[in-house]
Amino acid sequence: MGLASRVLFVPYRKSQPCSRGPTRHWSEMATNGRHTTTTTYVRWGMAIDLKRCTGCQSCTMACKVENGTPAGVFWMRVLEREEGTFPLAQTLYMPLRCNHCAEPPCVPVCPTGASYKRTHDSLVLIDQDKCIGCSACVIACPYQVRFVPRHKTGYHGDQFTPYEDVSYKRWQAGTAQKCTFCVHRLDQGLGPACVETCPTKALVYGNLNDPQSEISKLIRTRTHFQPRAEAGTDPSLFYLT
């Protein structure tokens, strides 16, 4: 069974398409308490250009090697969905991952405070030392991008490759994990691994609070939508259409 049929496909074509141009001025966003805490200076976001994405899955693989995720766990994946009827048919490719929502449903449901929003840049992260693996966040997330691998099993079974020996130390079995926006790279001034490798530059990350950032310009000038924005999550991912 394919990935596309195993997970809920976000009906992105039908969700709130935005008209060209900004919906709100940046200064409003920066000071609007609903979207930002008072100390927020940066809000990391990503624009995903669906016209550029060719479904090559480089981002999927870049995420895997960067984060050492186990089999069946994809913090970043590209779904394929067919549209139309022969001969007017085509496949749509949609990179999918944590939306780092401004109003993340996964955070308030966490009983231990393991899921949290980092105040200075709005990233939604998990403190695995605090996580008890209850999966409340997995259920609360409308995007199905959280995973709780119960065991550390390598791709070749219990015998880890030398790479897995190193990379599997980055996470704990029985706790929730998901896209961190490559926070360990951001903190070193590097871009997320998926963005850096994308052969068509379909992924653009940046500070949504900076009107001069490339991402802000793209959102201003391109038609776009935020996935399931109707859920009130205010995702930080913007799909350019």
């Binding site: 394919g2 480089s58 001969p87 048919a89 496949t91 030398p162 790479y163």
Partner: protein, 849 residues
């Protein structure tokens, strides 16, 4: 040594034949990350999924780490070789004994050299030549470059072709997913394609399968498999006879369009100089094409020359393509006539014939429209003529090696060496350019056919670039060809040719069984390795030294205004203890059979190693030193391995001539293939002498659509579908099938399934995900079906290169099917010009019930 190195190390990727620049992170001897090298102008820091997955290929727990000997003399895909670990001494001694056994008749050695990742290919080829065999197999698949190379050699000048994504406004892809799912310099052209589409270039994809490229195109036009030439000829008809879109000055002055052909189709020639004649409309006189007074060569008319009637070849082309009205083409291709007319007109208009552009102060013709094609159009019984009229579409509008048109890869360069295409016979392009002095096999004027000595019958294919597809046919029965010996020994690279390089797997299995002794390099025990007598462990790309790091540097780099680049590959970690660099193995073997001096001489030539760095016959050099010497010879004493470890890549700018050499080429290009008449006639004489009655209908100067056997089979009702092949961006050209990450990706995207049109499947009672029987004339296999609207109803799509059976590949084993294995392999399925194996095979699909 490598083990002492830590942190980020610069080297080259080796997960496919391209060779991107990468930096690899090593912590305590463990590879923990691989990223694109942003300084490499080819991949510009980008990497594909295959490259990103490379760590798990490197750490394959099932890799071969010691020399092995088979103890089961019986060979077969189902036979356990019963490997026994042996010493290097025993392995080499055994190989030397076998080589010495055939030393007096070296042509009994076959070298299977395709391994474009690094030096192993050129080294094994050099060894084969030094040993004295002509049987050096240097192609990958049974369609690999079969037509594009000869066509490039005489009508472009490079190795491959590439749409100019920098300037094209209209790009038609036929049977290729160029720059979206496949092709050389993928990570470069993928971005260029995205940028071109973003700036408004119209992309039209013509393909039976509506795959990745079709999904990103403005328009997908499904076509019945094996009918591409009918479409191309019809588009030519529209351009030349309906809309009048053709570049008259270009055709007159840069092609053989004005050459006069007589009633027999051959050129009319000057009795003394033997040069082809043209009619100069400026003064009404017949002249040779190179006459200094020639001002206005005529493209139409009928002229008497010494009692013979001669007409410009352009007029013959125009009349010929008039046989292909869009209405007739609709019946053949299923593409509506109105669509054929529309895209021909759009293409002609987009070509902006007559316009110019100024680049760096140089005014050049500007033809921002091109047609590109590759595997899908090459893999046919009449593959050459399926492709050639597609190239002609570019030529009639003058869109060849000019901004916006179709470009020739790696054709010309001024640094670090000088190379360029050159004219020759009849004033026509004769010699393509190549940075390495590995001359292109002459496709014009071709070679004179002779009675074959080669087991692959290379002598009977006077225009072809490779011939290996014939081997399973001739080794099964070589008596009809007058060959009185057997190939007895095979040396091969780690490439899995049994699944990758031929067709009908039963015939291929017999071919490999017929070889008395096989020795090969191996990283994993793949299907080819199953037939080995001796297995030699091979380093992964992270453990290797290579001066050649893939085709992106020397054969298929980005075209147009792009930099030249060169990098080397050097280990980032140590190989397993019992592993020897393959160059060192070949040197040892060459030395012991007494051909080391010849091997070095050939390497000095192939790699252009100059004094004082040349390899001396009385010395033994380790692999690292040879790479070092070559690098210094090319780029100077300071550019050794240390420099490359520190800097990664040499970058050199290219000027306008190197970017767009069309206007600088001092030779004409063909629109009429007169030499096919000559070679066809010569071939018939040789075949008559041999008592062979081959169909030589392909040897004609103007193309026709000639159907594949599957076309007739469908009409006879024997089968109801035609299987075709397509490519996945995360599998294409790669060595990653045993990689568990790539395997997982294939599972998640259902890449292991075959594609079937939903309506057709439902009529057969087949549902999505069903397991079915897929049966070709030579093979019946179980396959999982994925139903889709994105495929022509008459086609079945088989992607990737799967279908592994080797126990040495436990991850890949039993997943997907091998497309090649389905292909009938006989002369009725071989293109008589290019040796391409027919890749559109009739099949029936039935429920397994």
């Amino acid at each position: 040594m490598a083990t002492t190195q830590q942190g980020w190390l610069l080297t080259a990727c080796g997960m496919c034949y391209i060779g991107c620049g990468v930096r690899v992170h090593v912590e305590d001897g463990v590879v923990t990350a691989i990223e694109g090298n942003p300084d490499n102008p080819q991949n510009r820091g980008r990497m594909c999924a295959k490259g990103k997955a490379g760590i798990m290929t490197h750490y394959n727990p099932h890799r071969v780490q010691h020399p092995l000997r088979r103890t089961n003399p019986k060979k077969g895909l189902d036979e356990d070789p019963r490997w026994q670990q042996i010493s290097w001494r025993e392995a080499i001694d055994t190989i030397i004994a076998e080589l010495n056994r055939i030393r007096e008749d070296p042509k009994k050695l076959l070298v299977q050299a395709w391994e474009a990742v690094g030096d192993n290919m050129f080294w094994l080829k050099a060894f084969g030549s030094a040993f004295g065999t002509p049987h050096i197999m240097n192609a990958a698949s049974p369609t690999c470059g079969k037509v594009v190379h000869p066509v490039e050699f005489f009508s472009g000048g490079g190795f491959h072709q590439q749409p100019d994504l920098h300037y094209a406004n209209y790009c038609i892809l036929v049977g290729t997913q160029f720059a979206i799912s496949a092709r050389g310099s993928y990570n470069h052209i993928a971005l260029d394609m995205a940028e071109a589409r973003a700036r408004g270039m119209k992309l039209v994809v013509i393909d039976p399968v509506g795959g990745y490229a079709a999904s990103k195109a403005h328009e997908w036009i499904p076509i019945r498999p094996g009918t591409d030439s009918a479409l191309a000829l019809s588009m030519l008809h529209v351009l030349l006879n309906e809309t009048g879109h053709y570049d008259e000055p270009f055709l007159k002055n840069k092609t053989n369009a004005p050459y006069l052909a007589g009633e027999d189709g051959r050129y009319l020639r000057d009795p003394e100089s033997k040069q082809p004649l043209v009619f100069d409309a400026a003064d009404g006189r017949i002249k040779t094409h190179d006459d200094s007074t020639l001002r206005d060569p005529a493209l139409s008319g009928s002229f008497q020359v010494d009692g013979q009637n001669g007409r410009p070849t352009f007029e013959l082309l125009r009349e010929h393509v008039a046989n292909y009205s869009p209405e007739k083409t609709e019946e053949i291709t299923t593409i509506p006539a109105a669509t054929v007319r529309r895209i021909a007109r759009e293409f002609g208009e987009a070509a902006s014939i007559g316009s110019t552009i100024t680049i760096d102060g140089v005014e050049l013709p500007y033809r921002p429209a091109c047609v590109d094609w590759a595997k899908g159009t090459q893999g046919h019984k009449h593959g050459f003529h399926q492709c050639w009229p597609l190239k002609l579409l570019n030529m009639v509008v003058g869109a060849v090696n000019v901004p916006g048109g179709i470009l020739s890869t790696a054709a010309i360069g001024k640094h670090p060496h000088q190379w360029r295409p050159e004219g020759g016979t009849d004033g026509m392009l004769e010699d393509g350019g190549h940075i390495l002095p590995l001359p292109h096999p002459k496709a014009f004027p071709g070679r004179k056919p002779t009675t074959p000595i080669r087991m692959d019958l290379g002598e009977l294919f006077p225009l072809a670039s490779h011939f290996h597809t014939l081997l399973p046919i001739t080794t099964a029965d070589h008596r009809p060809y007058g060959l009185s010996y057997d190939l007895e020994m095979l040396l091969h690279t780690p490439t899995n040719s049994i699944l990758g390089s031929f067709g009908d797997i039963t015939m291929v299995e017999k071919f490999y069984q017929s070889l008395r002794f096989v020795a090969g390099f191996a990283i994993e025990i793949n299907e080819t390795t199953l037939f080995d007598d001796i297995v030699l462990p091979f380093p992964t790309y992270l453990e290797r030294y290579d001066f050649n790091t893939g085709s992106a540097a020397h054969s298929i780099p980005p075209c147009g205004e792009e930099e030249f680049h060169w990098q080397v590959r050097q280990p980032v970690v140590d190989p397993p203890r019992d592993l020897i660099q393959p160059q060192d193995v070949i040197v040892e073997i060459a030395d012991r059979v007494g051909v080391l001096g010849d091997l070095y001489r050939l390497l000095n030539h192939t790699y252009i190693i100059k004094e004082p760095y040349t390899l001396q016959p009385d010395r033994r050099y380790p692999a690292s030193e040879i790479v070092e010497r070559t690098a210094k010879s090319w780029f100077g004493e300071d550019h050794g391995l240390k420099w490359f470890r520190e800097h990664g890549v040499v970058r050199l700018s290219r000027d306008v001539e190197e970017s767009y050499f069309g206007p600088y080429l001092k030779a004409r290009l063909p629109i009429y293939l007169e030499h096919l008449l000559q070679r066809g006639g010569e071939l018939k004489t040789v075949l008559d002498q041999m008592g062979l009655n081959w169909d030589l209908s392909d040897y004609k100067p103007l193309s026709d659509w000639m159907p594949c056997p599957s076309y007739h089979a469908i009409r006879k009702g024997e089968f109801d579908l035609i299987a075709v092949h397509f490519k996945f961006p995360f599998v294409y050209g790669g060595y990653g099938n045993e990689n568990p990450w790539i395997d997982e990706l294939c599972e998640n995207t259902e890449a292991y399934s075959v594609l079937m049109n939903e309506s057709v499947a439902k009529a057969k009672g087949i549902s999505n995900g069903d397991t079915v029987w897929l049966e070709s004339p030579v093979r019946k296999v179980r396959a999982r079906v994925k139903l889709t609207q994105c495929i022509h109803p008459e086609a079945v799509g088989v992607g990737g290169h799967f279908g592994h059976v080797s126990p040495g590949m436990p991850v890949a084993r039993g997943k997907g099917i091998s497309f090649n294995a389905l292909l009938p392999t006989d002369l009725d399925h071989i293109d008589m010009i290019s040796t391409a194996l027919d890749h559109c095979v009739q099949v029936r699909i039935t429920p397994t019930a």
